[in-house]
């Protein structure tokens, strides 16, 4: 099985966010970028499938600027991906998930691909657009919010569950197919030193970004951090009953969260 896994560098969860000088985006200065959480989970899924299906290969593809995009691709190779393609984005990054999907789709279309795996969304922009846009661009079925992904070789079908608001749906799909993964692994692999050393010298294929002209776009106009919360208004009380009474009154009359 030819497996493509799309990966994205995002700021580390604990990063202190700062606004760029022009006020439109996150200031990347001094930010440590890592492989997005759900994308890391997709890499683990890709490698598990590779290990269980003889003759499989995993190809990591990423769209983004230097140096962070190259770094997450090398991290993916260190985890066990066989090949990597980098579509370099100019700086400042044209920060638009649909544009990213168009860039990824072009690179995927020109490479062998049976299964395309993405994280269901990235922890920075949280758009959850890339997977579905990829499916549409590649003309193949696409499913997001997927867990329990399995390959049934006898019937040549993927089987999986989708975590939807109303319950878990059970699905099957033929290949080729795009999957937006929501799986949380208990014990995902970590890169071992020999693989990390090898990944530093591994070749990375470069691809170019498609011309965005003629397409609708979404353009970042402003990036704001919340006004620092002043901290909770603490309720003073003499008995638990009084605390409850005061809180319920505030929630009904001031916050108006229930009648």
């Amino acid at each position: 099985m030819e497996i493509v896994v799309c990966v994205k560098p995002v700021p580390e969860a604990e990063t202190r966010l700062r606004v760029s000088a022009d006020g439109t985006r996150l200031d990347p200065e001094g930010v440590k970028f890592v492989l997005a959480g759900y994308d890391e989970s997709a890499v683990e899924q890709a490698l598990l499938l590779k290990e269980s299906i003889a003759g499989s290969r995993v190809h990591a593809i990423s769209f983004g600027p230097a140096p962070r995009t190259e770094e997450v691709l090398r991290a993916s190779i260190a985890l066990g991906c066989d090949q990597a393609t980098w579509i370099e984005a100019p700086t400042p990054v044209p920060d638009d998930p649909v544009l990213a999907a168009r860039a990824l789709a072009r690179a995927i279309a020109s490479a062998p691909h049976d299964l395309v795996l993405c994280g269901k969304q990235a922890g920075d922009d949280e758009s959850a657009i890339v997977a579905t846009a990829l499916g549409e661009l590649l003309g193949v079925p696409v499913f997001g919010y997927v867990v329990d992904l399995k390959w049934d070789p006898g019937r040549s079908r993927l089987t999986f569950h989708r975590v939807m608001e109303s319950g878990q749906e059970s699905w099957e799909s033929p290949l080729p197919c795009v999957i937006g993964l929501q799986q949380a692994w208990n014990d995902p692999r970590t890169a071992r030193l020999p693989m990390i050393l090898k990944s530093r010298k591994a070749p990375i294929t470069k691809a170019t970004m498609p011309d965005p002209a003629g397409n609708s776009r979404s353009v970042p106009a402003k990036f704001e951090l919340p006004v620092a919360r002043t901290g909770a208004k603490l309720i003073e009380y003499k008995s638990p009953e009084e605390a409850a009474l005061k809180l319920v009154r505030i929630l009904r009359e001031d916050a108006k969260v229930f009648p």
Binding site: L17, T132, L247
Partner: protein, 327 residues
């Protein structure tokens, strides 16, 4: 640019879901009742189609086709794009559930539309359309300008008010289903394991969430959290400490590695407020914390706090809420 708007209905148990009613409300605000056309798909959507009329939208297009009975946005996108073109719409609104966000991604390509998901505010000055949306788990907010003649917005659930009732005569027109790409042919939904009734609303869909943390001390005490939730008709959540310890399944977890929620009211019981929990709930409208430790970081993000023993405060709160709600 908002000449005419298509609001896509999502149907659950034959009815429009609340996120759709919120999208109807926003659509009416932007284009007036006359400027909005409803869309529903599926073989059992007659009730849902007529529900639009209760909320002021008489014009509804119904693609009555079993192929749209499953929540697979890729099967809906070709028909919705066709309907939007026929209606000369420049904007498609959908409730930002998983289905709605999927649909936005499909239509971004199929309808060549500027697209945003998780939208909490929509502004238009006739020419341009700008939206606001929380990013980084609610730790920042971005404003985006959508450029081009068409746009699709998936509205974050609970961010907008449900449309006020305003009964108009229904005018439901059947529309044919546009061809789904042939590659979808072998896809099949084998069934849905529905969240059992009586377990309260789904965590990511609830208007009120009550979560318990390590402060609850033992699984046999978790009923305090559940009773408070039940008194409010709220969903039950948990911190990672609770799900890691196996007191509750991982599906209850709110936070970076669990679910992100943004209810009207979030009550954190015995949760200290590690950053990995905070990013999953900080965009809630009102946050209440109950904790015995006055220095717990949860009090920094909460709007209201009670410093005290949760084993005394929580039952008192449950009983007070039951009283005012006449339960």
């Amino acid at each position: 640019m908002t000449s005419r708007i298509v609001v896509v209905g999502e149907v659950h148990h034959d009815h429009l879901i609340e996120a759709t009613l919120e999208a109807i409300g926003k659509g009416r605000e932007l284009a007036g009742s006359e400027g909005v056309v409803g869309f529903v798909g599926g073989s059992h959507a007659e009730t849902a189609a007529s529900e639009f009329a209760r909320f002021g939208i008489g014009e509804v297009r119904w693609a009555r086709d079993g192929v749209l009975d499953d929540r697979a946005a890729g099967r809906f996108a070709p028909t919705i794009a066709t309907v939007a073109d026929l209606e000369k719409a420049s904007l498609i609104l959908v409730g930002g559930t998983n289905f709605g966000r999927d649909l936005a991604g499909h239509l971004a390509i199929r309808w060549n539309a500027g697209t945003a998901t998780g939208v909490t505010d929509v502004r238009t000055d006739g020419e341009s359309l700008t939206v606001r949306r929380p990013v980084f788990g609610g730790r920042a907010t971005e404003t985006r300008r959508l450029e081009g003649p068409r746009a699709v917005l998936a509205l974050r659930p609970h961010a907008f008010a449900v449309a006020p009732e305003s009964v108009v005569p229904p005018h439901i027109l059947p529309v044919p289903t546009a061809e789904v790409p042939s590659a979808w042919g072998g896809t099949k939904c084998l069934g849905t394991e529905v969240v059992p009734a009586g377990s309260g609303p789904a965590l990511t869909d609830a208007a009120i969430v009550v979560s318990g943390g390590r402060g609850v001390r033992a699984p046999e005490n978790f009923h305090l959290v559940e009773e408070l939730a039940a008194s409010l008709g709220a969903a039950v959540g948990a911190s990672r400490a609770v799900t890691d310890a196996g007191w509750r399944p991982a599906t209850f977890q709110v936070g970076q590695t669990g679910k992100s929620v943004s209810p009207q009211l979030y009550i954190a019981v015995g949760i200290s407020g590690a950053i990995q929990h905070i990013v999953g709930m900080v965009s809630s409208r009102v946050i209440v914390a109950i904790n015995s430790d006055p220095t717990a970081p949860i009090f920094k993000v909460a709007d209201y706090g009670i410093v005290g023993d949760l084993f005394q405060i929580t039952p008192a709160l449950t009983s007070e809420i039951r009283k005012v709600r006449g339960l």
